[in-house]
C-alpha cells in the first residue's frame, strides 16, 4: 500500500493533479459559485472542444511530432461541414465528409513530415495559414449560420443533465488514455519519440506510425470542429485561433516534451483542466480584463515551477547537478 502511494507520487501526472486539486479547493472557498453543478458543467463544456484535440495531440507529441495547424483545421472542417449542411446534405454525410477532410489534412502533414522529411514546425505552421486561408476563401469571410436544427442538437442535447460535448470529450480521453497507456499498438509511439533510429531498427514502422499520428490529430481536430459547429450553431471564421498553443501547452504541462517519448492523455487532460480552471476562476473572481492575460501567464508559470520543484525533490539525488541530459538523443 505504501509502495503504491509512492509509485503514484512518482507518476509524472501526480504533481499537476495536486496543483489542480489545490486550485479547486482554493476556489471552493473563494467563490460560492464555484462548486455548483452549473459551474462545473460550464467549465467542462468550455474545455471540451480543446480536450478532444488534446487527446490526439498527446499521441502526436509523444511520437516526437508537433501540430500547429489544429486550430485552422478545426475552423476549416467546421466551415466545410456547415457549407455541406447548408447545401442540404444529410447530416451524417456532411459530418463524415468533414471528418474525412480533417483526416486527409493530417495525412498531408504526416506525409511532408515523415516522408519528405520537413520540419514539423514549419510544415504545420504553413498548414495553419493554408487552412485558415481556405476557410476564408470558402466562406468569403462570412460566418455560416442557418444550420439544420437536428445538427445543432448534437452539441446541445444533454444526457443525465450533461451536454454531449462533455460526454464525447470525456469518452475520447478515457479511450485515449487506455490505448496510449496500455495498447501494444500505441506503445510504439513512445519508442519512436524516445529514439527514432533505434525504433526503426527495432522493427517499428516509424514512418507509418508518424503519419497515422498526424492523421489522428487531423481527425480529432475535425471532430472538435464538428462538435463546436453544432454547439455554436454556426461556423465561425476565427474559431480555433490560437488554440494550437493552448493545446500544446496543456500537453506539455501534462508531462510531455517537445522531444517526444513521454506524456500521457491523463496528464494532458489535467493540463487543459488546469488552464480551464484558471479562466473560470478569473471570471468568477471578477479579475479585471486587463489583468487576466497577466494572471493566466503567471499562474501557468507558477504551476510549472511547482511541478518542477516537486519533480526535482522526487528524483532526489538522481539528478546529477550539471550533468542532467537534455534529451535522449543528445548523447554523442
Amino acid at each position: 500500500m505504501k509502495e503504491w502511494i509512492a509509485r503514484v507520487a512518482r507518476q509524472r501526472e501526480f504533481m499537476i493533479f495536486v496543483i489542480v486539486v489545490v486550485v479547486t479547493v482554493v476556489m471552493t472557498f473563494a467563490s460560492p459559485h464555484f462548486l455548483t453543478t452549473g459551474n462545473i458543467l460550464a467549465l467542462l463544456l468550455g474545455l471540451s472542444i480543446e480536450a478532444i484535440v488534446v487527446v490526439a495531440m498527446t499521441n502526436l507529441m509523444v511520437s516526437g511530432g508537433f501540430d500547429m495547424s489544429v486550430g485552422s483545421v478545426l475552423a476549416f472542417t467546421s466551415a466545410a461541414t456547415a457549407t455541406f449542411l447548408r447545401m442540404g446534405m444529410p447530416i451524417a454525410v456532411a459530418v463524415l465528409i468533414g471528418l474525412a477532410i480533417g483526416a486527409t489534412i493530417g495525412l498531408i502533414n504526416g506525409f511532408f513530415v515523415a516522408k519528405v522529411g520537413l520540419n514539423p514546425f514549419v510544415t504545420t505552421l504553413s498548414g495553419l495559414s493554408i487552412y485558415r486561408g481556405l476557410t476564408l476563401i470558402i466562406t468569403g469571410g462570412q460566418n455560416l449560420a442557418g444550420l439544420p436544427l437536428a445538427f445543432r442538437a448534437i452539441g446541445q442535447t444533454r444526457f443525465f443533465g450533461v451536454q454531449t460535448p462533455i460526454i464525447i470529450a470525456l469518452l475520447l480521453i478515457l479511450i485515449g488514455e487506455i490505448l496510449l497507456r496500455n495498447s501494444r499498438f500505441f506503445r510504439q509511439v513512445y519508442y519512436i519519440g524516445g529514439n527514432e533510429k533505434a525504433a526503426r531498427l527495432s522493427g517499428i514502422r516509424v514512418d507509418r506510425m508518424k503519419m497515422l499520428s498526424y492523421v489522428l490529430t487531423g481527425l480529432f481536430a475535425a471532430m472538435a470542429g464538428v462538435v463546436m459547429t453544432s454547439r455554436l450553431g454556426a461556423a465561425s471564421v476565427t474559431a480555433g485561433t490560437g488554440m494550437e498553443l493552448r493545446v500544446i501547452t496543456a500537453v506539455i504541462i501534462g508531462g510531455a516534451s517537445l522531444q517526444g517519448g513521454e506524456g500521457s492523455v491523463l496528464g494532458s487532460f489535467l493540463g487543459i483542466l488546469l488552464m480551464g480552471l484558471i479562466l473560470n476562476a478569473m471570471n468568477l473572481l471578477g479579475v479585471s480584463v486587463y489583468w487576466q492575460t497577466f494572471v493566466v501567464g503567471a499562474t501557468l508559470l507558477t504551476a510549472v515551477v511547482i511541478d518542477q520543484l516537486g519533480k526535482l525533490r522526487n528524483e532526489g539525488k538522481l539528478v546529477i547537478p550539471r550533468l542532467r541530459p537534455r534529451k535522449a538523443t543528445d548523447q554523442g
Binding site: R184, Q188, K197, A198, L201, K317, R322, K327, Q331
Partner: protein, 507 residues
C-alpha cells in the same frame, strides 16, 4: 621517477540505491600508464568522472602533484592538467572534426575571431598521429564511422596537453591497427613528455602490452594494485571476477552439428559501400566477419537487415529468395541485428530497462490481446536481468544510469529476445567485461546449438578467432577471404584484412 602525480584517497560516491565507489584509493606515478580494471559496474567510469570533476564525491580527497585540489568543474580539471577520453562519446555530431578536437580552445586572431586556417592545420597535425590526415578537418563528426569518432575523442583529450590523460575504454570501438597507433602515441607521450595515463579496458591483453601498473576495482572497492610485470591475466581475472574463467570463448563441442545452409547472400552490392559480397550461413554456425575500419562489414549487416537498401544481388533464406526492404520485414522473417552504435541506434536511454528489453517484440507480451500485460513484461525482464547479469537497482531503472557494459548486456538481451533464426551481431561485446563476455559467447553458442545462424561482426580479433566457426574477411567493401575457424590464425586474418594476401589489391 617515483613521484606521484595524481592521487585519490577514500573516494566515496553514492547514487540512489547504489554505492558506486566505496572508499577507493588510486595512485598514479608521473610518466606511467596505470591500468584500471574491473567488472562492468565496478565503478571505473564513476571514479574517472570524479577525477574529472564531473561528479562530486561524497567523501574523499584528490591530490595533484601532492597538493590537495578542489576542482568543481570539468573546466577546472582541465586547468589542473587532467583530461578524459570518455567512455560514452562526448562529441558534438553537428560540428566539424576540427571544432570538436579544439572545443572551446580554437585558435583565434587578435579580435577573438576563429583562425580557421590554423585550426585546420593543427587538426591535420593531430590526425596525422593516427594516420588519418586524409580526413578533411571540416568533415562533420556525425559523418564519421564510430571508430573514427573514437579517434577524434582521443585527439580532443590529447589536444589540451594534459599531465594526466584518462582513457576510459578507448579501444572498445577501435580496430587492431588503430589500437596499435594509439599505443605508439601513448608510449611517445609518456616517454617524450612524461605524461601519465589512466587506462581502462576490458581487453586484458592490452593491459600487458601498454600498462606499467594496475589497480583492480570490484563493487566500488579497490581490490588490489600491482606492478604489471609481476602478474598475469589470470591474476587479474581472479581479482576482478572472484573466480576463474575457463573456456572463455565457449568453443564448440564435437556434438554440435552444423545444419544446412540457412541464409545466403549472392553478389550483393551498394554503391561504394560494398560490392559483390557473397557468403552463406548454415544453421548452427557462427560466421565471423573481420576487417579493418570501414571495410564495410557494418554496411553489409545493415543491408541484410533492411536498414539500408541493396542495389544488386540477392538474398536467400533456406534456398528461397528473400525480399527485405525494412527492418520490420527482417524481424518478421526471424532476422535480428544488434547495432554497433548502442547509444544512438540501439537503445532507448531515457527508458527503463524493461522498456528496452521488450522494444522489438512487444507482441509477445500481449497474450493475444491488443494490450500489454505488465505482469508478463515484468517477469520477462526480471528473467533477462538475471540471465544476462545486468547490474542495476531494478528493472525500472532508466538505462542512462547503467554502466556502459551493462547497457551492452541489455542490448544483447533485446535481440536474443526475438528468438531469431538468423542473428547479426555487430561488435556484440563492446565494453563488456571478461566475465560477461564469456557469458555472451556462451549465449551465442547456445543459440547456435539451437539451430540459429549467427553473423558476428567484430573488430576484436581474439573474439573472431575464438568464437567463429568460419571467418569472412572484408576489405574495402569486398570479401577478400574465407577461412575456417580451425585454420585461422591472427596473422592470416590480419594479412588478408590488410590486403597483402589473397588478391584484395584495389583501394
Amino acid at each position: 621517477m617515483t613521484d606521484i602525480i595524481l592521487e585519490a584517497r577514500g573516494i566515496v560516491k553514492t547514487f540512489p540505491g547504489v554505492r558506486a565507489l566505496d572508499g577507493v584509493d588510486l595512485k598514479v606515478q608521473r610518466g606511467e600508464v596505470h591500468a584500471l580494471v574491473g567488472e562492468n559496474g565496478a565503478g571505473k567510469s564513476t571514479l574517472m568522472l570524479v577525477l574529472g570533476a564531473i561528479h562530486k564525491p561524497d567523501e574523499g580527497e584528490i591530490f595533484v602533484e601532492g597538493r590537495p585540489v578542489s576542482v568543481s568543474s570539468p573546466h577546472d580539471a582541465n586547468e589542473q592538467g587532467i583530461s578524459i577520453v570518455f567512455q560514452e562519446l562526448s562529441l558534438v555530431p553537428s560540428l566539424s572534426i576540427a571544432e570538436n578536437v579544439f572545443a572551446n580552445r580554437q585558435p583565434v586572431n587578435m579580435i577573438n575571431m576563429l583562425d580557421r586556417r590554423t585550426l585546420h592545420r593543427q587538426t591535420r597535425e593531430m590526425l596525422r598521429l593516427f594516420d588519418l590526415d586524409r580526413l578533411d578537418p571540416a568533415t562533420l563528426v556525425k559523418d564519421l564511422s564510430i571508430s573514427n569518432q573514437q579517434v577524434v575523442e582521443i585527439l580532443k583529450a590529447m589536444s589540451i596537453n594534459p599531465k594526466v590523460l584518462i582513457l576510459d575504454e578507448p579501444t572498445s570501438s577501435l580496430t587492431e591497427s588503430e589500437v596499435e597507433q594509439l599505443f605508439i602515441n601513448i608510449r611517445k607521450l609518456k616517454e617524450e613528455k612524461g605524461i601519465s595515463f589512466i587506462y581502462i579496458s576490458h581487453h586484458l591483453p592490452e593491459i600487458f602490452r601498454i600498462a606499467d601498473s594496475v589497480t583492480v576495482l570490484r563493487d566500488g572497492k579497490k581490490v588490489c594494485d600491482a606492478d604489471v610485470k609481476g602478474i598475469d591475466e589470470e591474476f587479474l581475472i581472479t581479482n576482478m571476477v572472484g573466480r576463474k574463467i575457463e573456456n572463455m570463448y565457449g568453443h564448440r563441442e564435437e556434438t554440435d552439428t552444423v545444419g544446412d545452409v540457412l541464409f545466403e547472400a549472392r553478389g550483393i552490392s551498394r554503391g561504394d559501400d560494398f560490392r559483390d559480397v557473397s557468403f552463406s550461413v548454415r544453421s548452427g554456425e557462427i560466421v565471423g566477419f573481420s576487417g579493418l575500419v570501414g571495410a564495410g562489414r557494418t554496411e553489409v549487416g545493415r543491408a541484410i537487415f533492411g536498414a539500408e537498401p541493396i542495389d544488386a544481388g540477392e538474398l536467400l533464406m533456406e534456398g528461397k529468395p528473400l525480399s527485405i526492404r525494412k527492418p520490420e520485414e527482417a524481424i518478421a522473417r526471424g532476422i535480428g541485428y544488434l547495432s554497433e552504435d548502442r547509444k544512438s541506434q540501439g537503445l532507448f536511454l531515457d527508458f527503463s530497462i524493461k522498456a528496452n528489453l521488450i522494444a522489438n517484440h512487444l507482441q509477445d507480451f500481449c497474450g493475444g490481446t491488443p494490450f500489454m500485460q505488465s505482469r508478463k513484461v515484468n517477469d520477462y525482464s526480471r528473467g533477462c536481468v538475471r540471465d544476462y547479469r545486468i547490474i542495476s537497482r531494478n528493472i525500472d531503472q532508466q538505462l542512462k544510469f547503467l554502466s556502459g557494459g551493462n547497457q551492452q548486456k541489455v542490448l544483447v538481451g533485446t535481440w536474443f529476445g526475438i528468438k531469431p533464426r538468423l542473428l547479426i551481431v555487430d561488435e556484440p561485446t563492446r565494453g563488456v567485461d571478461v566475465g560477461a563476455k564469456s557469458e555472451i559467447y556462451m549465449l551465442l553458442r547456445r543459440l547456435a546449438r539451437n539451430g540459429v545462424g549467427i553473423i558476428m561482426i567484430s573488430s576484436d580479433l581474439m573474439e573472431i578467432l575464438g568464437v567463429s566457426d568460419r571467418i569472412m574477411v572484408m576489405q574495402a567493401g569486398r570479401v577478400v577471404g574465407e577461412i575456417s575457424g580451425r585454420d585461422a590464425t591472427e596473422e592470416r586474418v590480419i594479412a588478408m584484412a590488410a590486403g597483402t594476401v589473397n588478391g584484395g589489391g584495389e583501394a
